[in-house]
């Protein structure tokens, strides 16, 4: 990365929203008040903003430290003309590190080839919220980054006008320069840098914006990710790639059962391994309710990672397994299924579904099961921390750099200004790297050792000590009247809650989890009942790409296809019938708890059945729905709103005589509102298809005697290139700024597995109600 001198003046006062409200991080920090919104508005004098045609409210204002749009914070211009733009969100493959600076560059009319992107450290008071999860980066920061670029452009124009002694109306920014419209004179951005940086930042309500028709980058798909060259040459820096003098390498033997602890250990043989420096107990905490605190165990520190692993293999450890030593996935499934059949909490009620079921001409009922998953990022968790007398410095692949900083400061009892968190590239995230336990481990060891310590998780560690995607049992019933019309839908889910990781004893779904496909379905059915059964957690439950939308979407989208079969209807027609006519479906008053709308205001992101309907129609049309297929082939469809985006998927499957699945084609229809980088949207959905296929075919983390039975990619397999969908077409619904931007990173996952299983049913007549598919087709 080119080093650019900061030519900007000291940060000026600027428009900024700082409202601390609710986020995954913020919610859990106050976990006792789940669902309660705690508003601490700190609105600056220049933040009053009329809801004009170019601005709308988002949930970004409610995230910790809100949003910042000050060009003095995000942009510096070197006298040579080189522009440096700060990327403050973490890059884990979604492209936000490119796309957000691209918005700034577009609106300030910078030449992208003269832009350098630098990664911000964890500093939310300066940059605004940095929690890179929830498919929020563009959704929340498109507007602030556009404001930032617009303000910079206006400051450059003002500086040029001042220099020429003409009114600002006589000048206009062009590509990386300002032009005097009356005489054609030009001043480059480099020449204007110092003067522009001394200009006051324009107030948000005075900003003017480029005509979208003149965009060079936004919506074009012509900008490559900024790390592309470094990635293809091995020069990109991930978590384990930071070279720091004197650093040592550690691996930790963690309790094999979550909640266990070390009784005693013998390091004699481990210390004989060449390269091993030290063996020591690693401090640990016993879940549930311990958030991201380390599990503890025995650490082996060596001069390289391989020696540390070899040393760990030689450890002799006696463990106290603790209360989860009987956790057994087979037995627990039965418990969950019983809970889903006898749920004790109503979460949504429209009409009287029980009565309608009783009087229905026909009742269709089915049960579904989805197991625990692990994220299995290609880069296993890794963190480097240097604790000195001056404080702590971190280099790590983290999705929540400021959350990491807060947690490490608290753990090491340091003031937060004595902790610095540098963010490397993330070798995949998917939610795993929102949890900073691996950094906390390194911090404790560095403090004890007095040298920089890098803690590397092995693949086995990653699969056996993760924050697992929940396990879920669900039961769905539909009542159908004599005319074949669905008059009642009753959906019950029992699944351990993520809240249990933050608060011991939590045993029902939070609004955040209910809002992911249990209570928010915009269906045209007069009687709807959604229920939640009690479920205890015996493992650390965390969020995994698209979270509770995976089980909820799998069950309901499979069930609608089952209904179609029972009623002799086409599955696409059945889906459209259930969605019903275009309308805003406001079910908020039908809910027991407050609707969690992905943190977004209802008015800007209501639940729109028309948009869901349109993507279903679009995916079907693009895929050639209804065409005749050879024996052993079939198509399946699913449509699901998540992260305020509307997604439909059609999967074309071939199943051979031995039950082997191949996927010649996938069609995604994506309505994510206004979008910046269609090339990265396509890559996210192509990737979601692969992740969806992996979880449908293979993914299951199972426990026996409290221990995870999987250990590496041989028994927790991933889809590989030879079984990947051959072609995934991504059809993005065109949208203008008036269609508010929504999420892209996660929402491609939920509809894939049900669309696949519906296709398998069409191909074979076999219905998959329990994931993974495994050998069910053999």
């Amino acid at each position: 990365m080119t080093h650019i001198n900061q030519t900007s003046a000291a940060p000026a006062k600027s428009a900024r929203h700082v409202i601390e409200n609710v986020s995954r991080r913020g919610l859990f920090a106050g976990a006792g008040a789940a669902g309660a919104f705690v508003l601490m508005a700190r609105l600056g004098p220049s933040t009053a903003r009329a809801a004009d045609s170019m601005h709308y409210d988002t949930g970004g204002m409610g995230m910790p430290h809100g949003m910042v749009s000050d060009p003095h914070v995000f942009i510096s211009i070197d006298p040579s003309g080189q522009v440096t733009i700060v990327a403050h969100r973490s890059e884990m493959g979604t492209g936000s590190r490119t796309s957000l600076p691209m918005v700034v560059a577009e609106e300030m009319d910078a030449d992208w080839s003269r832009v350098t992107v630098v990664q911000a450290p964890g500093d939310e008071p300066k940059y605004g919220n940095q929690d890179t999860d929830g498919s929020r980066s563009l959704r929340h920061f498109y507007q602030p980054m556009r404001d930032c670029g617009a303000a910079m452009r206006m400051m450059l124009e003002a500086a040029a006008a001042k220099q020429w002694g003409v009114p600002v109306s006589d000048v206009a920014a062009g590509l990386h320069e300002v032009v005097n419209k009356t005489n054609g004179k030009k001043l480059g951005y480099g020449a204007l840098a110092v003067a522009a940086s001394a200009m006051a930042t324009p107030a948000t309500d005075t900003l003017t914006f480029k005509d979208p028709a003149t965009y060079r980058y936004i919506g074009k798909g012509n900008v490559q990710i900024v790390d592309l060259f470094n990635i293809t040459t091995g020069r990109a820096t991930y978590g384990a790639d930071v070279k720091l003098p004197g650093k040592v390498y550690a691996v930790i033997a963690r309790p094999p059962v979550v909640g266990g602890k070390v009784v005693s250990f013998d390091a004699t043989e481990a210390m004989k391994v060449p390269g091993v420096i030290k063996v020591m107990e690693a401090k640990g905490w016993q879940p549930p309710g311990t958030k991201f605190l380390p599990l503890g165990g025995v650490a082996v520190i060596a001069k390289n990672t391989g020696s540390a692993i070899q040393g760990r293999d030689k450890l002799k450890i006696v463990w106290d397994d603790g209360p989860n030593k009987t956790y057994d996935s087979v037995a627990f499934r039965a418990t969950l299924e019983e809970s889903a059949r006898n749920p004790d909490k109503v979460v949504r009620k429209l009409g009287d579904a029980d009565a309608a079921l009783k009087s229905a001409a026909k009742v269709v009922s089915a049960e579904y099961y989805t197991p625990h998953f692990s994220h299995a990022t290609m880069e296993p968790p890794v963190g480097l921390v240097s604790v000195t007398k001056d404080g702590a410095e971190v280099w790590a692949p983290v999705q929540s750099p400021y959350g990491t900083r807060e947690d490490l400061a608290k753990l090491l009892e340091l003031p937060i200004d004595k902790v610095k968190v540098n963010v490397t590239l993330l070798g995949g995230g998917f939610g795993r790297k929102s949890k900073c336990d691996y950094v906390l481990e390194a911090g404790l060891l560095s403090k004890a050792m007095g040298v920089p310590v890098q803690v590397q998780w092995t693949r086995e560690d990653d699969l056996q000590h993760a924050f697992y995607h929940t396990v879920a049992a669900q039961k769905i019933e539909a009542g159908v009247d004599a005319n074949g019309k669905v008059v009642a839908l009753k959906h019950a889910c029992a699944a351990p809650t993520i809240l249990s990781t933050f608060k011991a004893g939590a045993d029902h779904l939070m609004p955040l989890e209910q809002g992911m496909g249990l209570v928010d379905l915009p269906y045209d059915v007069p009687n709807i009942l959604a229920l939640n059964g009690k479920a205890d957690a015996h493992a650390r439950i965390g969020w995994y790409r698209s979270v509770y939308n995976v089980p909820h979407g799998f069950a309901m989208q499979s069930f609608i296809a089952e209904l179609a079969h029972e009623l002799g209807k086409d599955p696409k027609d059945m889906l459209l019938e259930i969605i019903g006519p275009p309308r805003i479906d406001d079910m908020r008053k039908q809910l027991t708890d407050e609707l969690w709308n992905y943190g977004e205001p209802w008015d800007t992101h209501p639940i729109d059945a028309g948009r869901l309907r349109r993507v279903a129609e679009m995916a079907a049309e693009k895929a050639g729905w209804g065409k005749t297929l050879p024996a052993g082939e079939g198509m399946g469809i699913a449509a699901h709103r998540s992260f305020v985006s509307y997604i439909a998927t059609v999967v074309h499957v071939k199943v051979d005589g031995k039950g082997n699945i191949s996927v010649p084609q996938v069609d995604y229809a994506v309505d994510c509102g206004f979008h910046v980088n269609p090339e990265r949207i396509e890559s996210q959905f192509q990737g979601a298809a692969v992740m969806g296929l992996t979880l449908a075919k293979y993914s299951a983390i199972t426990f026996k005697d409290g221990r995870v039975e999987q250990s590496n990619y041989d028994n927790y397999p991933m889809v590989r290139i030879d079984e990947s969908p051959k072609v995934t077409n991504v059809h993005v619904v065109p949208a203008t700024f008036a269609n508010h931007a929504s999420g892209v990173g996660e929402p491609g996952v939920p509809p894939f597995a049900p669309a696949l299983c519906n296709a398998i049913f069409a191909a074979t007549g076999k219905r998959i109600r329990s994931l993974p598919i495994g050998n069910q087709l053999a």
Binding site: I231, T233, N304, V719
Partner: protein, 150 residues
């Protein structure tokens, strides 16, 4: 001391012969383009060339590779412009990018022996390399582009 030939240079390593080559390259020699993904030769993130063959460096021991020619992603092309690297950029393959050095080394070894592979040969050769982000469609395209000229 064990002497290795890495990217055309002699490198002396003071480590136990039982140490996997991966960790020698990464932690002792600073070749951090070589990635750790599984440690069990199941994912391909650590792929390097050993006398021209694509191998998983996590499964090779230091004592086995002395005297052999090792090429890592850092040494594939002095300017980062191997046809496979150029194809990867042309097709915009990476998402997170972590597995891509291994993918590129695998593809380069394939094309060195099979300059014009069939679709099936591409999939067979690349099936040892996992991409959790799911870039496979573009990986396949990029190998084809590299084979036919960038």
């Amino acid at each position: 001391m064990i002497t290795l030939n890495v990217n055309g240079q002699e490198r002396k390593v003071d480590a136990d012969p039982s140490l996997p080559l991966l960790w020698v390259l990464r932690d002792e020699l600073g070749m951090t383009g070589v990635k750790f993904g599984c440690g069990a030769a199941l994912c391909g993130a650590c792929t390097v060339h050993l006398d021209g063959e694509a191998v998983r460096s996590c499964g090779m021991l230091l004592g086995e590779v002395a005297g052999k020619k090792i090429v890592t992603i850092e040494g594939l092309d002095a300017h980062g412009n191997h046809p496979v690297q150029k194809a990867w950029r042309q097709v915009n393959v990476p998402q997170c990018g972590f597995c891509q050095a291994g993918q590129i080394m695998q593809a380069a070894a394939l094309l060195a022996k099979t300059p014009n592979p069939s679709d099936e040969e591409i999939d067979t050769a690349m099936a040892g390399n996992i991409c959790r982000c799911g870039c496979y469609q573009r990986i396949h395209t990029a190998v084809r582009v590299a084979a036919t000229g960038v």
